[in-house]
């Protein structure tokens, strides 16, 4: 069993956190792995095994994504910028 690590962060639009929307975690092959609604301050948090991931953000009228590398014992903090 691979021990999970944490991928977390915030979704921003023009520098401001977005409070309505979703963050999707896609694996190396682009396959969907998980999805969470954003918090009121635009934050998301996933438990994932170490490896290469893409965080994709969907918000009303905009989307964006960011590739991240998660390493064991090193939580990833990522900011995902969305654009129309």
């Amino acid at each position: 069993m691979a021990r999970e690590t944490v991928i977390q962060g915030v979704v921003v639009r023009e520098g401001e956190p977005v409070s309505t929307g979703y963050a999707r975690l896609l694996d190396e092959g682009g396959d969907f792995t998980a999805e969470v609604p954003l918090s009121a301050t635009g934050q998301f948090r996933f438990f994932a095994r170490p490896g290469q991931w893409t965080v994709r953000a969907l918000v009303p009228g905009a989307s964006g994504e960011r590739r991240v590398v998660a390493r064991q014992g090193e939580p990833v903090d990522a900011q995902v910028e969305v654009t129309a």
């Binding site: 691979a2 999970e4 095994r49």
Partner: protein, 277 residues
Amino acid sequence: MSREQVLVNAAWVEAHSNDPRVVLVEVDEDVSAYDRGHIPGAVRLDWKSELQDPVIRDFVDKGQFEQLLSTKGIANDDTVVLYGGNNNWFAAYAYWYFSLYGHGDVRLLDGGRKKWELDSRELTSEVTPRPATTYTAGEPRTDIRAFREEVIAAIGEKVLIDVRSPGEFSGLLLAPAHLPQEQSQRAGHIPTAKNIPWARTANEDGTFRSDEQLTALYTEAGVDLSAEIIAYCRIGERSAHTWFALHELLGLAGVKNYDGSWTEYGSLVGVPIEKGA
């Protein structure tokens, strides 16, 4: 059964917003989502506290289901439109449940809560009361629900579809990546099961893929769509979503959901388990 009879879109919901015979029902894993905002007029169903027996691991029984729907103000001849978060996982689970107890007209809102929110449609925190009814449920159907003995006997005989993520299927994870890793005693999958994650049946906005895309997905994965099929996941809600795609959208009669799923199978003593992709 056709797609139009089982799946509605936002325009349909808005056109029926004043129809007293249409009941919107929100079903979420995060039961607080409803309080923060729901589609106007919708009632809430709590998949855990209201749809599960509080003591043993099973559904509420026929009498409990009748009492629940009566209290919620849902009548036998109402059109029930289910929607929820997590790409309609729990709404699809409730759909399967309503089908199991023989509700006449039940549908899913395509895309669920996510698409509704992404389209910036109206949500309200106001609760619309519905007068109580006297709901009568049918005997639970056995043609759409698989139990563990049937699943063990199906290894190498019927088509088993594991709809969890590749990480769960291969045994690297016990639960989806946004949930704490808990539950079953062992990791892996049922031997001979094909891993066709539920997410491949849905678009990014949570709507279902077209019938042509769904047919291609399963046939390209080597599934004989004329065979008997059992879908499973971790606790039966994602596999209810796949059951909906196969049984309701593609109209395949021989499809069952194994709601015991991996949390049951992965804790059974002595059953075979495979690991790896």
